[in-house]
Protein backbone atom coordinates (compact mmCIF):
# COMPACT_ATOMS: atom_id res chain seq x y z
CA UNK A 1 0.00 0.00 0.00
CA UNK A 2 2.87 2.32 0.77
CA UNK A 3 4.17 1.90 -2.74
CA UNK A 4 0.94 3.19 -4.22
CA UNK A 5 1.00 6.16 -1.93
CA UNK A 6 4.47 6.83 -3.25
CA UNK A 7 3.18 6.74 -6.80
CA UNK A 8 0.48 9.22 -5.91
CA UNK A 9 3.00 11.49 -4.26
CA UNK A 10 5.35 11.27 -7.20
CA UNK A 11 2.55 12.07 -9.60
CA UNK A 12 1.71 15.04 -7.43
CA UNK A 13 5.26 16.33 -7.63
CA UNK A 14 5.59 15.71 -11.34
CA UNK A 15 2.65 17.98 -11.90
CA UNK A 16 4.63 20.91 -10.60
CA UNK A 17 6.54 20.90 -13.86
CA UNK A 18 3.38 21.75 -15.70
CA UNK A 19 2.72 24.88 -13.68
CA UNK A 20 1.89 27.00 -16.68
CA UNK A 21 -0.51 24.43 -18.03
CA UNK A 22 -2.36 24.52 -14.76
CA UNK A 23 -2.66 28.26 -14.70
CA UNK A 24 -3.86 28.12 -18.29
CA UNK A 25 -6.44 25.56 -17.21
CA UNK A 26 -7.76 27.82 -14.47
CA UNK A 27 -7.98 30.79 -16.81
CA UNK A 28 -9.72 28.64 -19.36
CA UNK A 29 -12.30 27.50 -16.83
CA UNK A 30 -12.98 31.04 -15.69
CA UNK A 31 -13.50 32.19 -19.26
CA UNK A 32 -15.87 29.31 -19.93
CA UNK A 33 -17.79 30.07 -16.75
CA UNK A 34 -18.01 33.69 -17.72
CA UNK A 35 -19.26 32.92 -21.23
CA UNK A 36 -21.89 30.57 -19.95
CA UNK A 37 -23.10 32.95 -17.28
CA UNK A 38 -23.33 35.77 -19.82
CA UNK A 39 -25.50 33.60 -21.99
CA UNK A 40 -27.80 32.66 -19.16
CA UNK A 41 -28.04 36.29 -18.10
CA UNK A 42 -29.04 37.15 -21.65
CA UNK A 43 -31.61 34.37 -21.59
CA UNK A 44 -32.88 35.85 -18.36
CA UNK A 45 -34.04 39.01 -20.05
CA UNK A 46 -36.13 37.50 -22.76
CA UNK A 47 -39.39 35.60 -22.84
CA UNK A 48 -39.53 32.99 -20.13
CA UNK A 49 -37.78 34.93 -17.38
CA UNK A 50 -35.85 33.38 -14.59
CA UNK A 51 -36.18 34.74 -11.11
CA UNK A 52 -33.18 36.25 -9.46
CA UNK A 53 -32.69 33.39 -7.04
CA UNK A 54 -32.95 30.99 -9.92
CA UNK A 55 -30.23 32.92 -11.69
CA UNK A 56 -28.04 32.56 -8.61
CA UNK A 57 -28.67 28.86 -8.59
CA UNK A 58 -27.77 28.66 -12.25
CA UNK A 59 -24.58 30.64 -11.71
CA UNK A 60 -23.56 28.39 -8.85
CA UNK A 61 -24.35 25.34 -10.94
CA UNK A 62 -22.19 26.57 -13.78
CA UNK A 63 -19.25 27.46 -11.53
CA UNK A 64 -19.34 24.11 -9.78
CA UNK A 65 -19.78 22.23 -13.04
CA UNK A 66 -16.82 23.82 -14.76
CA UNK A 67 -14.54 23.64 -11.77
CA UNK A 68 -15.33 20.00 -11.30
CA UNK A 69 -14.71 19.39 -14.99
CA UNK A 70 -11.41 21.16 -14.58
CA UNK A 71 -10.09 19.08 -11.76
CA UNK A 72 -11.49 15.83 -13.07
CA UNK A 73 -9.39 16.28 -16.20
CA UNK A 74 -7.05 13.34 -16.61
CA UNK A 75 -4.15 12.55 -18.85
CA UNK A 76 -5.98 10.03 -20.98
CA UNK A 77 -3.03 8.79 -22.95
CA UNK A 78 -0.85 7.22 -20.29
CA UNK A 79 -1.83 3.69 -21.21
CA UNK A 80 -1.66 4.39 -24.92
CA UNK A 81 1.84 5.83 -24.60
CA UNK A 82 2.98 2.81 -22.67
CA UNK A 83 1.58 0.48 -25.27
CA UNK A 84 3.11 2.39 -28.14
CA UNK A 85 6.53 2.67 -26.56
CA UNK A 86 6.46 -0.94 -25.44
CA UNK A 87 7.06 -0.14 -21.79
CA UNK A 88 3.73 -1.75 -20.97
CA UNK A 89 5.43 -5.14 -20.93
CA UNK A 90 7.88 -3.92 -18.32
CA UNK A 91 5.04 -2.64 -16.18
CA UNK A 92 3.37 -6.04 -16.31
CA UNK A 93 6.51 -7.73 -15.11
CA UNK A 94 6.75 -5.58 -12.04
CA UNK A 95 5.28 -6.95 -8.82
CA UNK A 96 2.66 -4.23 -8.64
CA UNK A 97 -0.96 -4.13 -9.62
CA UNK A 98 -1.04 -2.08 -12.78
CA UNK A 99 -4.60 -0.89 -12.34
CA UNK A 100 -3.90 0.30 -8.84
CA UNK A 101 -0.69 1.94 -9.97
CA UNK A 102 -2.52 3.84 -12.69
CA UNK A 103 -5.19 4.91 -10.24
CA UNK A 104 -2.65 6.16 -7.72
CA UNK A 105 -1.08 8.32 -10.40
CA UNK A 106 -4.41 9.87 -11.24
CA UNK A 107 -5.21 10.39 -7.58
CA UNK A 108 -1.97 12.28 -7.20
CA UNK A 109 -2.95 14.50 -10.09
CA UNK A 110 -6.43 14.98 -8.66
CA UNK A 111 -5.03 16.05 -5.32
CA UNK A 112 -2.74 18.47 -7.09
CA UNK A 113 -5.55 19.90 -9.10
CA UNK A 114 -7.75 20.37 -6.07
CA UNK A 115 -5.06 22.38 -4.34
CA UNK A 116 -3.62 24.25 -7.30
CA UNK A 117 -6.73 24.75 -9.36
CA UNK A 118 -9.97 24.19 -7.53
CA UNK A 119 -9.28 26.21 -4.42
CA UNK A 120 -7.92 29.36 -6.11
CA UNK A 121 -10.50 29.16 -8.88
CA UNK A 122 -13.32 28.68 -6.40
CA UNK A 123 -12.25 31.66 -4.37
CA UNK A 124 -11.95 33.84 -7.47
CA UNK A 125 -15.29 32.66 -8.83
CA UNK A 126 -17.05 33.04 -5.51
CA UNK A 127 -15.90 36.62 -5.44
CA UNK A 128 -16.57 37.57 -9.05
CA UNK A 129 -19.73 35.63 -9.71
CA UNK A 130 -21.16 35.59 -6.21
CA UNK A 131 -22.21 31.99 -5.98
CA UNK A 132 -24.45 30.49 -3.39
CA UNK A 133 -22.92 28.69 -0.45
CA UNK A 134 -23.74 25.05 0.08
CA UNK A 135 -27.32 24.47 1.16
CA UNK A 136 -26.47 23.01 4.55
CA UNK A 137 -23.67 21.26 6.38
CA UNK A 138 -25.44 17.98 5.98
CA UNK A 139 -25.74 18.57 2.25
CA UNK A 140 -22.07 19.43 2.17
CA UNK A 141 -21.11 15.97 3.38
CA UNK A 142 -23.48 14.32 0.99
CA UNK A 143 -22.04 16.51 -1.74
CA UNK A 144 -18.49 15.40 -0.96
CA UNK A 145 -19.52 11.77 -0.94
CA UNK A 146 -21.43 12.16 -4.17
CA UNK A 147 -18.60 14.08 -5.82
CA UNK A 148 -16.10 11.38 -4.92
CA UNK A 149 -18.36 8.78 -6.39
CA UNK A 150 -18.95 10.96 -9.43
CA UNK A 151 -15.18 11.04 -9.96
CA UNK A 152 -14.98 7.29 -9.63
CA UNK A 153 -17.72 6.84 -12.20
CA UNK A 154 -15.86 9.12 -14.59
CA UNK A 155 -12.58 7.36 -13.89
CA UNK A 156 -13.96 3.91 -14.59
CA UNK A 157 -15.72 5.14 -17.69
CA UNK A 158 -12.49 6.66 -18.95
CA UNK A 159 -10.64 3.49 -18.09
CA UNK A 160 -12.91 1.47 -20.37
CA UNK A 161 -12.10 3.81 -23.25
CA UNK A 162 -8.37 3.67 -22.44
CA UNK A 163 -8.49 -0.07 -22.86
CA UNK A 164 -9.43 0.47 -26.50
CA UNK A 165 -5.82 1.28 -27.26
CA UNK A 166 -5.01 -2.42 -27.04
CA UNK A 167 -7.22 -3.06 -30.02
CA UNK A 168 -7.29 0.23 -31.87
CA UNK A 169 -3.84 1.72 -31.25
CA UNK A 170 -4.88 5.38 -31.52
CA UNK A 171 -7.43 6.18 -28.87
CA UNK A 172 -7.73 9.93 -29.52
CA UNK A 173 -10.88 9.55 -31.60
CA UNK A 174 -12.69 7.40 -29.04
CA UNK A 175 -11.63 9.62 -26.17
CA UNK A 176 -12.89 12.68 -28.05
CA UNK A 177 -16.24 11.09 -28.84
CA UNK A 178 -16.60 9.92 -25.25
CA UNK A 179 -15.85 13.43 -24.00
CA UNK A 180 -18.44 14.91 -26.33
CA UNK A 181 -21.08 12.51 -25.01
CA UNK A 182 -20.21 13.30 -21.44
CA UNK A 183 -20.29 17.05 -22.00
CA UNK A 184 -23.81 16.92 -23.32
CA UNK A 185 -25.40 14.08 -21.38
CA UNK A 186 -23.96 14.75 -17.95
CA UNK A 187 -25.52 18.15 -17.65
CA UNK A 188 -22.07 19.70 -17.57
CA UNK A 189 -23.01 22.44 -20.00
CA UNK A 190 -26.76 22.61 -19.72
CA UNK A 191 -28.45 21.58 -16.46
CA UNK A 192 -30.53 18.46 -16.87
CA UNK A 193 -33.62 20.29 -15.69
CA UNK A 194 -33.59 22.39 -18.86
CA UNK A 195 -33.55 19.42 -21.14
CA UNK A 196 -36.55 17.85 -22.84
CA UNK A 197 -37.98 14.88 -20.94
CA UNK A 198 -37.34 12.38 -23.68
CA UNK A 199 -33.64 13.15 -23.35
CA UNK A 200 -33.50 13.04 -19.56
CA UNK A 201 -35.34 9.73 -19.68
CA UNK A 202 -32.56 8.28 -21.81
CA UNK A 203 -29.88 9.80 -19.62
CA UNK A 204 -31.42 8.15 -16.58
CA UNK A 205 -30.36 4.80 -17.98
CA UNK A 206 -26.76 5.90 -18.39
CA UNK A 207 -24.07 6.72 -15.83
CA UNK A 208 -23.58 10.23 -17.23
CA UNK A 209 -26.02 12.08 -15.06
CA UNK A 210 -24.34 10.77 -11.92
CA UNK A 211 -20.97 12.35 -12.62
CA UNK A 212 -21.67 16.06 -12.25
CA UNK A 213 -25.37 16.67 -12.02
CA UNK A 214 -26.09 14.53 -8.96
CA UNK A 215 -23.45 16.00 -6.64
CA UNK A 216 -24.20 19.56 -7.75
CA UNK A 217 -27.93 19.14 -7.18
CA UNK A 218 -27.16 17.94 -3.68
CA UNK A 219 -24.95 20.95 -3.05
CA UNK A 220 -27.72 23.27 -4.19
CA UNK A 221 -30.22 21.59 -1.90
CA UNK A 222 -32.32 20.70 -4.92
CA UNK A 223 -32.46 17.05 -4.03
CA UNK A 224 -34.91 16.07 -1.31
CA UNK A 225 -33.29 13.98 1.39
CA UNK A 226 -35.47 11.03 0.53
CA UNK A 227 -33.96 10.92 -2.95
CA UNK A 228 -30.37 11.30 -1.84
CA UNK A 229 -29.89 7.81 -0.55
CA UNK A 230 -31.39 6.41 -3.71
CA UNK A 231 -29.09 8.46 -5.92
CA UNK A 232 -25.99 7.67 -3.93
CA UNK A 233 -26.79 4.00 -4.24
CA UNK A 234 -27.22 4.29 -7.98
CA UNK A 235 -23.88 6.03 -8.18
CA UNK A 236 -22.33 3.17 -6.30
CA UNK A 237 -23.91 0.59 -8.56
CA UNK A 238 -22.59 2.35 -11.63
CA UNK A 239 -19.10 2.41 -10.17
CA UNK A 240 -19.25 -1.32 -9.66
CA UNK A 241 -20.62 -2.04 -13.14
CA UNK A 242 -18.06 0.14 -14.89
CA UNK A 243 -15.30 -1.22 -12.70
CA UNK A 244 -16.13 -4.79 -13.62
CA UNK A 245 -16.36 -4.03 -17.34
CA UNK A 246 -13.02 -2.29 -17.13
CA UNK A 247 -11.48 -5.19 -15.31
CA UNK A 248 -12.83 -7.62 -17.87
CA UNK A 249 -11.34 -5.61 -20.71
CA UNK A 250 -8.04 -5.41 -18.88
CA UNK A 251 -7.87 -9.18 -18.52
CA UNK A 252 -8.59 -9.60 -22.20
CA UNK A 253 -5.93 -7.02 -23.02
CA UNK A 254 -3.33 -8.73 -20.86
CA UNK A 255 -4.07 -11.99 -22.61
CA UNK A 256 -3.66 -10.34 -25.96
CA UNK A 257 -0.33 -8.86 -24.92
CA UNK A 258 1.01 -12.14 -23.64
CA UNK A 259 0.03 -13.97 -26.80
CA UNK A 260 1.44 -11.33 -29.08
CA UNK A 261 4.57 -10.89 -27.04
CA UNK A 262 4.08 -7.18 -26.48
Amino acid sequence: MRAYLEFAKRSFQNNLVYRLDYIAGVLNAIVMIFVNISIWKAVNEDGDSIESIQLQILVTYIVLSFLMQLIYTMDEYIVENKVRSGTISMDLLKPINFRLYLFSMHLGTLAFRIIMQFIPAFIVSAYIFRILPVFSLQMFFYFLLSAIMGYLILYNLNYIVWMSTFWFYWSFSLVTIKDALIMVLSGALVPLWFMPTWLTDIIAFTPFGYIFSTPILIYLGMMPESDIFDNLTRQFVWIVILFLVGKGLWLMAKNKLVIQGG
Binding site: I39, I177, V184
Partner: protein, 278 residues
Protein backbone atom coordinates in the same frame (compact mmCIF):
# COMPACT_ATOMS: atom_id res chain seq x y z
CA UNK B 1 26.14 29.65 -60.55
CA UNK B 2 22.88 30.84 -61.99
CA UNK B 3 19.42 29.72 -61.18
CA UNK B 4 16.49 30.08 -63.52
CA UNK B 5 13.63 31.67 -61.63
CA UNK B 6 10.90 29.36 -60.51
CA UNK B 7 7.92 30.14 -62.71
CA UNK B 8 4.33 29.95 -61.55
CA UNK B 9 4.02 26.73 -63.53
CA UNK B 10 6.99 25.27 -61.70
CA UNK B 11 5.52 26.19 -58.35
CA UNK B 12 2.13 24.83 -59.31
CA UNK B 13 3.67 21.53 -60.30
CA UNK B 14 5.47 21.32 -56.97
CA UNK B 15 2.26 22.20 -55.13
CA UNK B 16 0.40 19.48 -56.99
CA UNK B 17 3.07 16.95 -56.05
CA UNK B 18 2.78 17.94 -52.41
CA UNK B 19 -1.00 17.65 -52.58
CA UNK B 20 -0.73 14.20 -54.12
CA UNK B 21 1.50 13.05 -51.31
CA UNK B 22 -0.70 14.60 -48.63
CA UNK B 23 -3.76 12.89 -50.06
CA UNK B 24 -2.02 9.55 -50.43
CA UNK B 25 -0.75 9.83 -46.89
CA UNK B 26 -4.25 10.35 -45.60
CA UNK B 27 -5.68 7.49 -47.65
CA UNK B 28 -3.12 5.18 -46.07
CA UNK B 29 -5.14 5.30 -42.90
CA UNK B 30 -8.62 5.73 -44.30
CA UNK B 31 -10.43 4.17 -41.39
CA UNK B 32 -8.43 5.92 -38.76
CA UNK B 33 -8.77 9.30 -40.42
CA UNK B 34 -12.50 8.89 -40.95
CA UNK B 35 -12.97 8.04 -37.32
CA UNK B 36 -10.90 11.05 -36.42
CA UNK B 37 -13.00 13.31 -38.62
CA UNK B 38 -16.11 11.93 -36.95
CA UNK B 39 -14.65 12.49 -33.51
CA UNK B 40 -13.87 16.11 -34.33
CA UNK B 41 -17.37 16.48 -35.73
CA UNK B 42 -18.84 15.19 -32.48
CA UNK B 43 -16.66 17.46 -30.39
CA UNK B 44 -17.68 20.57 -32.31
CA UNK B 45 -21.34 19.58 -32.40
CA UNK B 46 -21.46 19.79 -28.61
CA UNK B 47 -21.59 23.58 -28.77
CA UNK B 48 -24.33 23.37 -31.37
CA UNK B 49 -26.33 20.93 -29.28
CA UNK B 50 -26.07 23.28 -26.33
CA UNK B 51 -27.50 26.14 -28.36
CA UNK B 52 -30.29 23.92 -29.63
CA UNK B 53 -31.15 22.72 -26.12
CA UNK B 54 -31.26 26.21 -24.69
CA UNK B 55 -33.21 27.72 -27.54
CA UNK B 56 -35.71 24.91 -27.85
CA UNK B 57 -36.59 25.75 -24.26
CA UNK B 58 -36.40 29.52 -24.35
CA UNK B 59 -37.08 30.25 -28.03
CA UNK B 60 -35.43 33.67 -28.11
CA UNK B 61 -32.39 35.22 -26.54
CA UNK B 62 -32.28 38.97 -26.91
CA UNK B 63 -34.10 38.79 -30.16
CA UNK B 64 -32.02 36.02 -31.64
CA UNK B 65 -33.80 32.84 -32.54
CA UNK B 66 -32.34 29.37 -33.10
CA UNK B 67 -31.75 29.69 -36.84
CA UNK B 68 -30.06 33.06 -36.48
CA UNK B 69 -27.75 31.80 -33.75
CA UNK B 70 -26.78 28.75 -35.74
CA UNK B 71 -26.20 30.85 -38.81
CA UNK B 72 -23.84 32.97 -36.75
CA UNK B 73 -22.08 29.85 -35.58
CA UNK B 74 -21.77 28.36 -39.07
CA UNK B 75 -19.33 31.08 -40.09
CA UNK B 76 -16.87 29.97 -37.45
CA UNK B 77 -16.84 26.40 -38.60
CA UNK B 78 -16.70 27.07 -42.31
CA UNK B 79 -13.91 29.61 -42.07
CA UNK B 80 -11.91 27.47 -39.67
CA UNK B 81 -12.33 24.48 -41.94
CA UNK B 82 -11.00 26.49 -44.86
CA UNK B 83 -8.11 27.72 -42.73
CA UNK B 84 -7.14 24.23 -41.68
CA UNK B 85 -7.43 22.90 -45.21
CA UNK B 86 -5.06 25.50 -46.60
CA UNK B 87 -2.86 26.42 -43.69
CA UNK B 88 -2.33 23.39 -41.45
CA UNK B 89 1.34 24.04 -42.00
CA UNK B 90 1.08 27.33 -40.15
CA UNK B 91 -0.96 25.77 -37.41
CA UNK B 92 1.72 23.12 -36.89
CA UNK B 93 4.68 25.41 -37.47
CA UNK B 94 6.10 25.15 -33.98
CA UNK B 95 6.20 21.40 -34.39
CA UNK B 96 8.12 21.82 -37.63
CA UNK B 97 10.70 23.98 -35.95
CA UNK B 98 11.01 21.58 -33.08
CA UNK B 99 11.45 18.49 -35.24
CA UNK B 100 14.01 20.04 -37.55
CA UNK B 101 11.65 20.24 -40.49
CA UNK B 102 12.35 23.95 -40.87
CA UNK B 103 16.07 23.23 -41.21
CA UNK B 104 15.31 20.90 -44.06
CA UNK B 105 13.17 23.55 -45.75
CA UNK B 106 16.05 25.99 -45.56
CA UNK B 107 18.18 23.67 -47.65
CA UNK B 108 15.81 23.66 -50.61
CA UNK B 109 15.79 26.08 -53.53
CA UNK B 110 12.21 27.22 -53.00
CA UNK B 111 10.48 29.59 -50.60
CA UNK B 112 10.09 28.60 -46.98
CA UNK B 113 6.50 29.77 -46.57
CA UNK B 114 5.58 27.89 -49.72
CA UNK B 115 6.94 24.68 -48.28
CA UNK B 116 5.30 25.25 -44.92
CA UNK B 117 1.90 25.73 -46.50
CA UNK B 118 2.17 23.03 -49.16
CA UNK B 119 3.63 20.32 -46.99
CA UNK B 120 0.70 19.73 -44.72
CA UNK B 121 -3.06 19.27 -44.97
CA UNK B 122 -5.20 18.16 -42.05
CA UNK B 123 -8.08 16.36 -43.72
CA UNK B 124 -9.86 15.10 -40.60
CA UNK B 125 -10.04 18.56 -39.06
CA UNK B 126 -11.16 20.04 -42.38
CA UNK B 127 -13.93 17.49 -42.67
CA UNK B 128 -14.94 17.57 -39.02
CA UNK B 129 -15.32 21.34 -38.78
CA UNK B 130 -16.45 21.67 -42.37
CA UNK B 131 -19.27 19.19 -42.02
CA UNK B 132 -20.67 21.01 -38.99
CA UNK B 133 -20.42 24.30 -40.85
CA UNK B 134 -22.05 23.00 -43.99
CA UNK B 135 -24.94 21.38 -42.12
CA UNK B 136 -25.58 24.53 -40.12
CA UNK B 137 -25.33 26.72 -43.17
CA UNK B 138 -27.68 24.65 -45.26
CA UNK B 139 -30.27 24.37 -42.51
CA UNK B 140 -30.27 28.01 -41.51
CA UNK B 141 -29.43 30.20 -44.47
CA UNK B 142 -32.81 29.65 -46.03
CA UNK B 143 -34.62 29.83 -42.71
CA UNK B 144 -33.20 33.24 -41.87
CA UNK B 145 -34.41 34.52 -45.20
CA UNK B 146 -31.26 35.28 -47.13
CA UNK B 147 -31.71 36.01 -50.77
CA UNK B 148 -28.71 34.90 -52.73
CA UNK B 149 -28.29 37.81 -55.04
CA UNK B 150 -24.99 38.21 -56.83
CA UNK B 151 -23.97 40.88 -54.32
CA UNK B 152 -24.73 38.63 -51.39
CA UNK B 153 -22.86 35.70 -52.84
CA UNK B 154 -19.77 37.80 -53.46
CA UNK B 155 -19.94 39.26 -49.97
CA UNK B 156 -20.32 35.84 -48.43
CA UNK B 157 -17.35 34.37 -50.26
CA UNK B 158 -15.13 37.33 -49.42
CA UNK B 159 -16.21 37.23 -45.78
CA UNK B 160 -15.50 33.52 -45.56
CA UNK B 161 -12.08 33.71 -47.15
CA UNK B 162 -11.12 36.78 -45.14
CA UNK B 163 -12.31 35.03 -42.00
CA UNK B 164 -9.94 32.16 -42.74
CA UNK B 165 -7.10 34.54 -43.35
CA UNK B 166 -7.74 36.37 -40.08
CA UNK B 167 -7.50 33.07 -38.22
CA UNK B 168 -4.40 32.14 -40.20
CA UNK B 169 -2.79 35.41 -39.16
CA UNK B 170 -3.64 34.81 -35.51
CA UNK B 171 -2.05 31.39 -35.64
CA UNK B 172 0.96 32.81 -37.38
CA UNK B 173 1.55 35.30 -34.60
CA UNK B 174 1.80 32.44 -32.20
CA UNK B 175 3.91 30.39 -34.60
CA UNK B 176 6.49 33.16 -34.75
CA UNK B 177 7.25 32.60 -31.09
CA UNK B 178 9.02 29.39 -32.11
CA UNK B 179 11.73 31.47 -33.70
CA UNK B 180 12.78 32.62 -30.28
CA UNK B 181 12.33 29.16 -28.79
CA UNK B 182 9.18 30.06 -26.93
CA UNK B 183 6.52 27.42 -26.69
CA UNK B 184 3.32 29.36 -26.85
CA UNK B 185 1.02 26.54 -27.83
CA UNK B 186 -0.85 26.67 -24.53
CA UNK B 187 -1.22 30.41 -24.49
CA UNK B 188 -2.31 30.43 -28.09
CA UNK B 189 -4.90 27.74 -27.56
CA UNK B 190 -6.13 29.58 -24.52
CA UNK B 191 -6.56 32.85 -26.37
CA UNK B 192 -7.66 31.58 -29.76
CA UNK B 193 -10.15 28.90 -28.83
CA UNK B 194 -11.68 30.87 -26.01
CA UNK B 195 -12.10 33.91 -28.21
CA UNK B 196 -13.72 31.62 -30.73
CA UNK B 197 -15.98 30.19 -28.06
CA UNK B 198 -17.02 33.66 -26.98
CA UNK B 199 -17.60 34.72 -30.58
CA UNK B 200 -20.00 31.81 -30.98
CA UNK B 201 -22.68 33.92 -29.40
CA UNK B 202 -23.65 37.46 -30.41
CA UNK B 203 -21.21 39.77 -28.70
CA UNK B 204 -24.05 41.90 -27.46
CA UNK B 205 -24.56 39.25 -24.80
CA UNK B 206 -21.32 40.32 -23.17
CA UNK B 207 -20.11 43.42 -21.35
CA UNK B 208 -18.52 46.21 -23.37
CA UNK B 209 -14.98 45.24 -22.51
CA UNK B 210 -15.36 41.81 -24.03
CA UNK B 211 -16.90 43.33 -27.12
CA UNK B 212 -13.92 45.62 -27.55
CA UNK B 213 -11.57 42.66 -27.01
CA UNK B 214 -13.21 40.71 -29.79
CA UNK B 215 -13.25 43.65 -32.14
CA UNK B 216 -9.83 45.17 -31.61
CA UNK B 217 -7.56 42.58 -30.09
CA UNK B 218 -8.62 39.12 -31.20
CA UNK B 219 -10.92 40.21 -34.03
CA UNK B 220 -13.24 37.22 -34.24
CA UNK B 221 -16.23 39.47 -34.64
CA UNK B 222 -15.10 40.13 -38.18
CA UNK B 223 -15.14 36.43 -38.86
CA UNK B 224 -18.77 35.81 -37.96
CA UNK B 225 -20.64 38.54 -36.10
CA UNK B 226 -20.39 41.44 -38.51
CA UNK B 227 -20.89 39.35 -41.63
CA UNK B 228 -24.00 37.97 -39.96
CA UNK B 229 -25.24 41.49 -39.32
CA UNK B 230 -24.80 42.18 -43.02
CA UNK B 231 -27.31 39.48 -43.80
CA UNK B 232 -29.62 39.79 -40.83
CA UNK B 233 -29.83 43.57 -40.22
CA UNK B 234 -30.83 43.31 -36.63
CA UNK B 235 -31.71 46.21 -34.36
CA UNK B 236 -28.50 45.88 -32.46
CA UNK B 237 -26.56 46.72 -35.60
CA UNK B 238 -27.14 50.30 -34.60
CA UNK B 239 -24.79 49.79 -31.66
CA UNK B 240 -21.82 49.58 -33.95
CA UNK B 241 -20.36 51.70 -36.64
CA UNK B 242 -21.85 50.64 -39.92
CA UNK B 243 -18.48 50.32 -41.55
CA UNK B 244 -17.60 47.27 -39.47
CA UNK B 245 -19.77 45.15 -41.67
CA UNK B 246 -17.50 45.72 -44.62
CA UNK B 247 -14.22 45.65 -42.77
CA UNK B 248 -13.55 41.91 -42.69
CA UNK B 249 -11.22 41.79 -45.70
CA UNK B 250 -9.45 44.93 -44.49
CA UNK B 251 -8.79 43.39 -41.10
CA UNK B 252 -7.48 40.27 -42.81
CA UNK B 253 -5.06 42.22 -44.95
CA UNK B 254 -3.80 44.37 -42.10
CA UNK B 255 -3.20 41.38 -39.84
CA UNK B 256 -1.49 39.41 -42.57
CA UNK B 257 0.79 42.29 -43.45
CA UNK B 258 1.75 42.74 -39.81
CA UNK B 259 2.39 39.09 -39.12
CA UNK B 260 4.32 38.66 -42.35
CA UNK B 261 6.75 41.35 -41.23
CA UNK B 262 7.12 39.64 -37.91
CA UNK B 263 7.66 36.34 -39.65
CA UNK B 264 10.37 37.67 -41.89
CA UNK B 265 12.08 39.23 -38.91
CA UNK B 266 11.81 35.93 -37.10
CA UNK B 267 13.22 33.97 -40.04
CA UNK B 268 16.26 36.17 -40.14
CA UNK B 269 16.70 35.73 -36.45
CA UNK B 270 16.15 32.01 -36.63
CA UNK B 271 18.96 31.59 -39.06
CA UNK B 272 21.00 33.35 -36.47
CA UNK B 273 20.15 31.25 -33.50
CA UNK B 274 18.77 27.96 -34.71
CA UNK B 275 18.75 25.14 -32.22
CA UNK B 276 21.62 25.45 -29.85
CA UNK B 277 22.86 21.88 -30.08
CA UNK B 278 26.57 22.34 -30.82
Amino acid sequence: MTLKRYSLLDLTKIFIQYSKLNLKSMLEYKLDRSLLAFAIFCREMVAVVVIILILSRFLHIRGWDLNEMLFLYSFLFLSYSLFVFLFSGIRDFDQMVYSGGLDRFLTRPIGIMFQIVASRVDYPATLGHGLVGVILFLKTSAAVGIEWTFQNVVYYIIALVSGSLIQAALFMFSACASFWAFKTENLRNLVFFNARRIAGYPITFYPAMIQKLLIFIVPFTFVNYFPTLFFLRKEESAMFWEGYIYLTPVVAIVLLAAVYQLWRFGMRNYSSTGNEAG
